[in-house]
Amino acid sequence: MFLSKKEERILEGEEGEAARLAMRTIVKVGEALGASRLVEIEHAHVSGVSYLNIGDPGLEFIEHLANLDARIRVFGTINPLSFDLDSPHEFNITVEEYEKQLRIINALKKMGFNPTFTCTPYYIRKPSLGEHLAWGESSAVAYVNIVYGARTNKEGGPIALLSAIIGRIYYSGLHLTENRIPRVYFKTTFNTSNTVEAGLLGYIIGKLSKGRTAYLENNIQWKESWVKAYAAAIGTTSDNPLTIIENVSPETNLFNKEYIEDKITITREDLEEAYNELVDNSSQEQVVFFGCPHLGLEELRELVLTTKGYDKPIIVSTSRYIYAKAVEENLVKKLEEKGIKIIKDTCPIVSRLFKPNTTVKTNSTKASFYLKRLRKVKTILSDYGETGG
C-alpha cells in the first residue's frame, strides 16, 4: 500500500504507540482488502460502545488505548449505551455493568470522543456530498450514503475507533466512485406511503441487490422518517448500504444504464411476504415503540400531532442532543402529557428494557428484525398514524 511520509512516520511510532497500533491495523486491513492507499476522513462514528455488547474484552482494549494516551484527530461520535444515563435503574443492569459502562465512556471521552450515545450522528454533524467518513452503525452508514452522498463503508466498531485516532481509513469500497455506480435497478408497482413500507422495501432491496449498489426509481418526495427506516432496514440484509433513490439521493448522475446488470420490480405482494417474515401477528401488543433509529425533531413533532392517547404504553427513544432541542421546543412536555415515555442514550435493541416474549408494536423494520433475534421479543409492524386513539 502506498503511504505518505506522514503516514509512514505514524507507522514507525513517531506519534506514539496508540497511533502506531491504529495505523498498523488500518493498513493491514486495507492491504487485505486490496486498497491502494488511505484516505483522510472528516468524522468517525464508533459502534460497539455498550458494555453489554463488547464486554470485558472491549472495555480492556478501549482503556488500553486511553492509557496509551490515544487522541482522536477528527470529529468523533459514539453509539448508544445499554441504559439511559439519567435513569439507569429502569434498565435492569447490575452495579458492575453500570460501573464498567462508565469506564468505557470515560476512556472514550479522554480520547476526545463526544458523548453522543446515538445511532443518528448525522444530526450532530451533517456530512456533505463526497466527504469521506469512517462510521460503524449500519443504519447511519446507509443514511449518509443515500441522503448526503457522503462516503463510508459499514465499518466495525474497532476499525472506526482506530481510524479516528489516525484520521484515515483505507481507500476501498464505497470511497471509490466506481463502486457507487448502481448495478441493480429497482422499481416498484406502488408509491411508498409510510415508514413501514419504506423499511420493508429496504429489507427486500438489501436481499436482492446481493452486495451491489442499487438504484431505486421513485417519483415522490420521501419523508425523513421513511429514508431512516429504509436505511436501517437495508443494513439488516446487505453489506452494501448504498441505494441511489430518485428524488432523495444527490448522486442520481452516477446512473448509467450500461452498468445495470439486473432490473427488478417489487410489488405489494413482495412487501407482504417480507412483512410476514418479520412479524408475529398472533398476539396483541403490550407496548408501542418508536425510535429505531433514534428519532429526530421532525419525527417528534409528527408524533405530537398524530398520537392522541393510547391504551398501551408508548416508548420513544432519541439522543440526548435531540432531547435537549425537544425540551426547548416544548415537545417533551407535550409528549409526556400524551403518556409517551422518552428514553435517551439507548434503545430496546441494545438494552434489557423489554423482557423476552413481550409483544411490541413498532414502525421500524430494523427493530422488528433485531428485537426478535437479540431480545426474543415479538413484534408487530405498524405506522405512526395507526397508533393514535
Binding site: E60, G156, I159
Partner: protein
C-alpha cells in the same frame, strides 16, 4: 518423516518459523460468543471443536464470522495469554485481520486449508512472498 507443503498468503507474519499442533474447526468461528477469552476454550455448542482450547495451537478454520467486536476478543486472548500460535483460514475478513493485529497473532490465508489434517504437526516457514505450511505425516 514425510512432509506435504502448502503455500499460504501471509496476512500477518513477522516471524521466520512457527511450529505447532493443529486444532481444526470445520465450522466458522465467531470470537464474540464462540470463544471464552479467559480460558481459550471454544464454547460454541455447534462447533466441531467444542470444549477444546485454542491456546498455543495453530488454529485452522474455513473463515471467521460474527460481530465486529470479535476483534476485541482476539486482543483479549493475547492479554490473558490464551491466544493461539497462529491462525490459518480459507478466507480472511476485516474483523479477523484487525483482531490479529491487536492481539499480535500471526495470520495466514490458505484457500486449500482443508488439506491440513486435524491434530497434525505443522511448521510455518516464511519465504519471499509466501509462507510455506509444512505438514508432517
Amino acid at each position: 518423516m514425510k512432509y506435504k507443503i502448502l503455500h499460504a498468503r501471509p496476512i500477518l507474519f513477522d516471524r521466520e518459523v512457527i511450529e505447532g499442533t493443529v486444532l481444526k474447526s470445520s465450522t466458522p468461528i465467531s470470537p464474540l460468543g464462540d470463544i471464552n477469552p479467559k480460558t481459550g476454550e471454544i464454547i460454541d455448542p455447534r462447533s466441531t471443536i467444542k470444549g477444546q482450547k485454542i491456546t498455543e495451537k495453530i488454529l485452522v478454520a474455513p473463515h471467521f464470522r460474527g460481530s465486529t467486536v470479535g476483534s476485541y476478543v482476539l486482543f483479549a486472548l493475547a492479554k490473558y495469554g490464551t491466544a493461539p500460535k497462529a491462525i490459518i483460514v480459507g478466507r480472511i475478513d476485516p474483523m479477523l485481520v484487525a483482531g490479529c493485529v491487536l492481539g499480535n497473532i500471526p495470520l495466514l490465508e490458505l484457500r486449500t486449508y482443508e488439506e491440513i489434517p486435524s491434530n497434525a504437526l505443522v511448521i510455518l516457514k516464511k519465504t519471499n512472498n509466501e509462507v510455506e505450511v509444512h505438514v508432517k505425516y
